[in-house]
């Protein structure tokens, strides 16, 4: 990808709202540990809020690259740092608004929901997104 900071943030919001929203809607009832919608959507919101902050970090790292690009692989491996931080916050019960069960948020529910969303978003941004939005790839990932 060839993102600008503005484009990164717009794409992040668009993808998480559209794909994150739909996938969470479909997956929540079948996730292990029976999390409720309130929990899964709050986690999604946390991915979004933290994600915008992460984008600032990525943008800074991108400045060290001569090409000012963001290789395809980076878009995949950043799932690790983002997922780990979020899980840590969930484990410490620091994500606000969630009714934490006595044994915590079920890990596998979090893992599956997070990974599926990440993978779908990653695949979509690396190709199909260019089909409906012809300007998107030439304008740093901006949608508006």
């Amino acid at each position: 990808m060839l993102p600008t900071l503005n484009g990164r943030i717009q794409t992040r919001i668009f993808m998480l709202v559209v794909f994150g929203g739909v996938i969470t809607l479909v997956l929540t009832p079948v996730l292990p540990g029976d999390p409720d919608y309130r929990t899964t959507y709050l986690i999604l919101a946390a991915v979004l809020v933290l994600g915008v902050l992460w984008e600032l970090v990525y943008h800074a790292i991108q400045q060290l690259r001569w090409e000012k690009d963001w290789p395809t692989l980076f878009g995949l491996v950043t799932a690790l740092n983002e997922g780990a931080l979020l899980w840590l916050l969930l484990d410490l019960e620091l994500v606000p608004g969630i009714d934490y069960p006595y044994d915590g948020v079920p890990f596998w529910a979090f893992f599956i929901d997070f990974s599926v969303i990440w993978l779908v978003v990653w695949v979509w941004t690396n190709g199909p997104m260019r089909v409906p939005f012809i300007r998107w790839r030439f304008f740093g990932g901006r949608i508006i």
């Binding site: 060839l2 484009g7 001569w66 090409e67 690009d69 995949l76 089909v131 409906p132 012809i134 790839r137």
Partner: protein
């Protein structure tokens, strides 16, 4: 293809202007050549038949192709557009230049997977399609990990041409093609333009045909190639065109000789073309037992991180070294970069940045990210390493003071930091690829002199963000330009497939605002993509 003789001559109210009493040649007159704005009557009086068409694109190379491709997808029928060109098919010049500079059909070109001139969406990318079609996990893995753990994927030239052919058929390109050389474009009194075409011998009754259009698009490619002056002088003075060649001219005879007779070749230049020529020379050693010795002459020897001003320690305005945020890898003489500009000029940060810069500041950023460069490819590195180890590949850094014949050979006196050294070789291959000034192209010179066009901070045609040629407006008519002639504008990567598509998108957008074509919104775009996939007409 359209036969220019069949083109309609638009009648004017005065029959004498198209049914002349005395014979006329249908050629340009002095009066026409001296007038910046032409009336319909002037053209008709010269006996030049007029064809009415809303949009013409001049050139008929990749730039024209991607532009009409966009417009066809935006719903413009073939009857509304003409491509004026000397070429039979859009990739003809490109294929010639790549072939002679050692990228035959099975070899891979330079640009990336998503630079698809036959597909405005760049999806599926060449790499994805290749990896899936032939189920090649190596290609797919490469796409996933480039440029960190693998070299950039680049498509095979032959595949690019086949796909272009498919798309040309799909959009009925041939229905729009009119063959001939465009002599000049002049603004029309009352709006729009006259484009004067010289059709091939015998193709039309008159020497010229005029296309009267609201919109003109210029995509004439390189204004011309310049040879290094000392090489040109040697060639003419000694009438020797066999031993001194430019990489952009046919020079297969050199390789044939090298396979038969052990010889020494001087390769000049540090860009991708030099890399290609070296690859050919080294491949011939590996595969055909050639005993070629290679002397590689660099003008600037890059030995580490660099930018467009040169090595770390070289002078740059304002002083200082390369910036941490703006430095490129390099070594062994070369500056390494995947494509001819840093990748983000085609869509990301650098594109956004340059779009907002004017004059000096823009020229400075161009300079800083510019400079001769070539991709780092593992196979090339391996060959050069072997050559250095075995002593048949060596480098010299400097400039050539003088060239003299020495028996059958050529003696070059090279000025280096250590003084002047003689380098005697059998062949010289010039890979410096200097581009000629835009004024050396007759059509462009005329536009600068009579069409209102001007130069940008880098000296090429001054285009706006929409690729409108600034200063050439004519009533409601607009002239656009894309490709190498517009380098230096608000968008840097113009002379590439993707750059030509970026331009085409801007041009389509502007034409859409002017009501010439439909909007390619999400729905139209998706429907059109499926049509592309199915191979059905847009």
């Amino acid at each position: 293809m359209i036969d220019p003789t069949a083109a309609s001559v638009v009648p004017t109210t005065d029959p004498s202007t198209y049914l002349p009493a005395q014979p006329i040649s249908g050629d340009l007159t002095d009066q026409l050549l001296q007038t910046d704005f032409w009336t319909d009557d002037m053209v008709a009086a010269a006996g030049i038949p007029i064809v009415d068409i809303p949009f013409v694109t001049i050139g008929g190379g990749i730039g024209s192709f991607v532009t009409v491709d966009y417009l066809r997808i935006a719903g413009v029928p073939t009857s509304q557009m003409r491509v004026l060109s000397t070429l039979d098919f859009p990739w003809q010049t490109y294929e010639y230049l790549t072939r002679v500079s050692q990228v035959p059909r099975p070899e891979r070109i330079r640009s990336d997977s998503a630079s698809r001139p036959d597909n405005i969406w760049g999806f599926p990318s060449y790499g994805f399609a290749e990896g899936v079609r032939h189920f090649d996990p190596k290609v797919l893995w490469g796409l996933l990990t480039e440029p960190i753990f693998a070299d950039y994927y680049t498509p095979k030239a032959g595949n690019v041409f086949e796909q272009l052919e498919r798309e040309a058929k799909r959009i009925s390109y041939d229905e729009m093609l009119v063959k001939g050389l465009v002599r000049i474009v002049r603004r029309r009194y009352g709006g729009g333009y006259f484009t004067i075409l010289t059709p091939p011998e015998g193709a039309s009754a008159t020497k010229r045909v005029a296309f009267r259009s609201q919109y003109v698009h210029l995509a004439v490619g390189y204004p011309g190639l310049k040879f290094l002056p000392e090489l040109q002088r040697y060639r003419t003075e000694n009438n020797d065109y066999r031993h001194i060649v430019n990489a952009y001219e046919a020079h297969e005879h050199v390789y044939e000789r090298l396979v038969q007779t052990p010889s020494t070749v001087l390769v000049r230049g540090g860009g991708i073309v030099a890399s290609r020529i070296l690859q050919r020379l080294m491949d011939d050693r590996e595969k055909h037992g050639a005993q070629t010795k290679i002397v590689h002459l660099f003008r600037t020897y890059i030995h580490g991180t660099n930018d467009g001003y040169g090595n770390e320690e070289d002078q740059r305005p304002g002083g200082g070294r390369t910036r941490v945020t703006m430095r490129r890898r390099g070594g062994d003489g070369w500056a390494y970069q995947g494509f001819n500009y840093p990748k983000s000029v085609w869509g990301g940060q650098l594109k956004a940045q340059v779009r907002n810069l004017e004059g000096e500041q823009r020229a400075e950023l161009y300079k800083r990210m510019g400079g001769t460069n070539t991709p780092y490819r593992r196979s090339w590195q391996r060959q050069m390493k072997q050559g250095r180890r075995e002593g048949w590949y060596s480098c010299v850094v400097g400039t050539v003071d003088e060239m003299r014949p020495s028996g059958e050979r050529i003696l070059n006196r090279v000025r280096t930091a250590q003084g002047v050294v003689p380098v005697e070789v059998d062949f010289v291959i010039d890979c410096t690829g200097l581009e000629a000034d835009i004024a050396e192209h007759r059509l462009l010179k005329d536009l600068l002199d009579h069409g209102g066009a001007s130069r940008n901070p880098v000296g090429r045609l001054n285009v706006d963000r929409t690729f409108e040629l600034i200063g050439t407006q004519s009533g409601g008519g607009v002239m656009y330009a894309s490709g190498a002639t517009t380098l230096g504008g608000y968008f840097p990567g113009v002379d590439t497939f993707l750059g030509l598509q970026v331009a085409a998108q801007e041009i389509y957008g502007d034409l859409n605002k002017r009501g010439f074509c439909k909007r390619i919104g999400p729905v139209r775009s998706t429907v059109q993509w499926w049509k592309w996939l199915a191979g059905s007409a847009p």
